[in-house]
């Protein structure tokens, strides 16, 4: 058992902190510029096997990167493309097409997004509303997908559907295909989130990802996504914490700086505890995704998301409170962080979803015997 980063992980963290810190002023660069930079730095290659052009790293390195993105309040589509779709592509039997898609992600020339959620499945329930009929040449897809992320920049969708025999399939679909209509909305966190309709969308028969257990692969990808978003939240909270401490030190009232008042100092300590508990939970989630039993991973993921949800709410609330009026002003930098933290608490499972899973897990029921 080792709580410390390896030397390589420390180097990755230092490289990321330099490139992505709020001080680096990346908020003014374009996402396209940043993505090229990530490709050059090898960040897009992190979770892919070395034989496939990747760095052969895993959820811990993803956690380090996601935390850096969060701290810089950056909304780049790393999670949708590299983490989620990367995981599904790696789960598929390797062939030239899959290798080509992975290479495109690694080189930064293509972005992917998963279209899986459907009406009735917003809380993570598995539904099979989208249908894909196969003939000798093509798949024809019909269905409606919700909460598809980063559609503005996605070159491909990975679409989950049921075939004629009622089996689950995963299909790679060019986002420019005829019959796709994307209806994007803007999230409170500034991200693009879309309803995507598929009407008789045709893709070549070879675009099916050869994955033995589609449901299992989707659960695995979702767990990785949750671990990654937990890490992003830790970065956001860390950024918020630093902002708050700096504000309290510099803001003067009653002829003294606010940092001298005990009530405020204690609230900052409460924020620090919430942040460090969240960090520990994110570490546990990443570590569990990196290896170990599936049942333990599911528990670690559920616990992590609940902890992150609670810590995120508390830290964002406390930060706004400690800033006073300016904490609510859009012009001040806190808003971006607070809104993304709020959204994270709602997506990929709110408290109720995961607490219920924990309360009813088999391990839990066995433990009481």
């Amino acid at each position: 058992m080792n709580v410390d980063y390896t030397d390589e992980q420390v180097m990755l963290k230092e490289s990321l902190d330099r490139r992505l810190s709020p001080a680096a002023g990346l908020q003014t660069t374009s996402q396209a510029e940043r993505w090229k930079d990530y490709a050059e730095a090898g960040y897009l290659a992190i979770p892919f096997a070395e034989e496939r052009g990747g760095l052969g790293a895993g959820p811990v390195e993803t956690m380090i990167l996601q935390e850096a993105l969060g701290k810089g309040a950056l909304s780049d589509p790393y999670l949708s493309s590299v983490v989620v779709c990367g995981s599904l592509l790696q789960a598929a039997l390797a062939d030239d097409m899959v290798d080509g898609w992975i290479a495109a992600i690694v080189e930064g020339t293509a972005k992917f997004s998963l279209a899986q959620m459907e009406p009735g499945g917003q809380y993570g329930e598995y539904t099979r509303g989208t249908l894909a009929k196969a003939d000798k040449v093509n798949w024809t897809i019909n269905g409606r997908k919700l909460f598809v992320e980063d559609t503005e920049t996605a070159n491909y969708f990975i679409v989950s559907a049921a075939n004629d025999a009622g089996q689950d399939v995963l299909l790679v679909v060019d986002s420019a295909s005829e019959g796709i209509s994307v209806n994007p909305s803007t999230g409170w966190d500034g991200r693009s989130v879309a309803v995507v309709e598929f009407k008789d969308v045709c893709v070549p028969i070879d675009n099916r990802l050869d994955v033995e257990d589609v449901c299992g692969a989707l659960i695995g990808a979702r767990d990785l996504a949750i671990a990654a978003i937990c890490a992003e939240a830790v970065g956001l909270m860390s950024g918020v914490f630093d902002l708050t401490v700096e504000y309290l030190k510099t803001r003067r009232q009653f002829k003294t700086s606010l940092s001298g008042f005990q009530a405020l100092r204690h609230k900052v300590c409460d924020m620090l505890m919430a942040l460090e508990l969240a960090r520990s939970a994110a570490m546990a989630a990443a570590s569990a995704c990196a290896g170990g039993e599936e049942s333990e991973r599911r528990i670690a993921i559920a616990r992590a998301k609940v902890q992150i949800n609670r810590s995120s709410r508390f830290v964002a609330q406390a930060a706004i409170q400690l800033h006073g009026g300016i904490g609510l002003a859009e012009e001040y930098q806190l808003g971006i962080y607070a809104r993304r933290l709020t959204v994270i608490g709602q997506i990929y499972g709110n408290d109720q979803v995961h607490l219920r899973a924990l309360a009813n897990s088999e391990t839990n029921t066995r433990a009481a015997q």
Binding site: M1, N2, V3, D4, Y5, T6, Q9, V10, V60, V245, L248, K249, S259, G260, Q262, R265, H266, V268, C269, D270, L272, M273, E276, L277, A278, R279, S280, A281, M283, A284, A286, S287, A288, A290, G291, G292, A300, R303, A304, V306, Q307, R310, L355, R356, L358, A359, N360, N364, A367, A368, Q369
Partner: protein
């Protein structure tokens, strides 16, 4: 970074667990599990068994009985002792005076005292707090007037845990009235059998007399019982208060209590079904476990990191804060399961756990107060965060 325990570590844990179960009498562990008050003999038996097993002072320098274990192994031992409901090694001995003497004591003091501290041949208590000096410990007034042979001590200590069992007391005394409060304090070792010492037990609201007032009237202390340099006692006290961090969050204690809560909930019937079959109750327990598992990893980060992380070090005090809150929450859950049977005060013949649960709950209110209250811990962390 990999939070899974290696198979060597798993084997070590199993070995520790098996040793504790086979070597520590079951009746004693049951007493602890129930929350019944312990006699002096109970503590001594447990401590000596732990010392024999090498589990009492693993964190000490090896030459004085410490073990060449990794921080992870020490963390495992601390947790297993808590989970097995074995009384912990006497903390005043192994976590306070022991490390202070190992670090600052004279060779003669180390030779004379350390082995007897480890074996609990000498029972030590801590003379720090006074009636007017609790959180503001540096304001303490117990005086030590310098004589040819040593000091004459006058004053009073309060909240002295298990002074009634103690052979020795280590005390902070004022040796310089002119200096700034922290600069005029010395650290002395006093034989509890000295002429002039009287004890008054303090009954706590759980019915037990865990703590005492200790009165010193012209008590003579030889010079050889001064630890380190005169007027440097505050430094040694600070060292003592921050030194031993493994186990301070009470992870093992909280885990054991939650396991008990679940087991009792299975057999507690409300309206025809068990409390455990109520999803609401399971959700409530799951909430506590979420925070406990995050705290457990935080404890491991603080206690076992070899790289060291300045940020988490400053938050180590918060481990004690959050750990106390979770342990206290666990006693609330225990009370909840106990229901109306928790109304009854246990008598000598009481077997059922419910009657003891109220006493446990009341007694554990001390966790957020002693060892530096939670409010003081936050003051300490805030100083570090704001750099002031």
């Amino acid at each position: 970074m990999d939070l899974r325990y290696t198979s060597d570590e798993q084997r070590f844990r199993e070995e520790v667990r098996a040793n504790l179960e086979s070597e520590v009498p079951r009746a004693l562990r049951e007493k602890v599990r129930k929350g019944a008050p312990l006699e002096k003999e109970d503590f001594v038996i447990a401590h000596r068994i732990l010392n024999r097993l090498g589990y009492a002072v693993p964190h000490w320098p090896v030459q004085w009985g410490g073990r060449d274990w990794t921080p992870v192994q020490r963390s495992i031992v601390a947790e297993e002792i808590q989970r097995a409901c074995v009384p912990a090694p006497l903390s005043a001995n192994v976590s306070m005076i022991g490390p202070v003497l190992a670090a600052f004591g004279s060779p003669a003091q180390k030779e004379r005292f350390l082995p007897r501290i480890a074996s609990l041949d000498d029972w030590w208590c801590q003379g720090f707090s006074e009636p007017n000096s609790g959180s503001d410990l540096a304001s303490l007034k117990m005086s030590a007037r310098r004589t040819d042979d040593g000091y004459v001590i006058n004053g009073q200590k309060i909240w002295t845990t298990y002074a009634q069992h103690a052979d020795w007391i280590f005390a902070l005394v004022r040796t310089d009235l002119q200096a700034k409060p922290q600069r005029g304090i010395s650290f002395v070792l006093i034989d509890m059998r000295s002429q002039g010492i009287t004890l008054r037990p303090i009954e706590l609201i759980d019915g037990d007399c865990e703590v005492n007032e200790v009165f010193f009237e012209d008590v003579e202390v030889p010079l050889e019982n001064l630890v380190g340099a005169e007027n440097h006692g505050w430094d040694y006290a600070k060292y003592l208060l921050t030194h031993e961090r493994t186990g301070i969050a009470g992870i093992g204690v909280a885990k054991e209590m939650l396991e008990r809560v679940k087991a009792y909930a299975r057999t507690t019937i409300h309206g025809g079904t068990s409390l455990w079959s109520d999803e609401n109750f399971r959700l409530t327990v799951a909430e506590v476990e979420v925070e406990l598992s995050a705290l457990e990893v935080t404890q491991l980060r603080v206690g076992t990191s070899t790289r060291g992380d300045a940020a988490i070090d400053s938050a180590a005090s918060l481990l004690k804060v959050k750990g106390s809150e979770i342990q206290q929450r666990a006693t609330e859950l225990l009370l909840e399961v106990a229901g109306p049977d928790a109304w009854l005060r246990p008598t000598e013949s009481t077997e059922d756990w419910q009657a003891y649960s109220t006493g446990l709950y009341l007694n554990w209110r001390k966790l957020s107060i002693y060892g530096g209250s939670n409010e003081i811990q936050k003051n300490i962390v805030a100083k570090s965060v704001f750099g002031d």
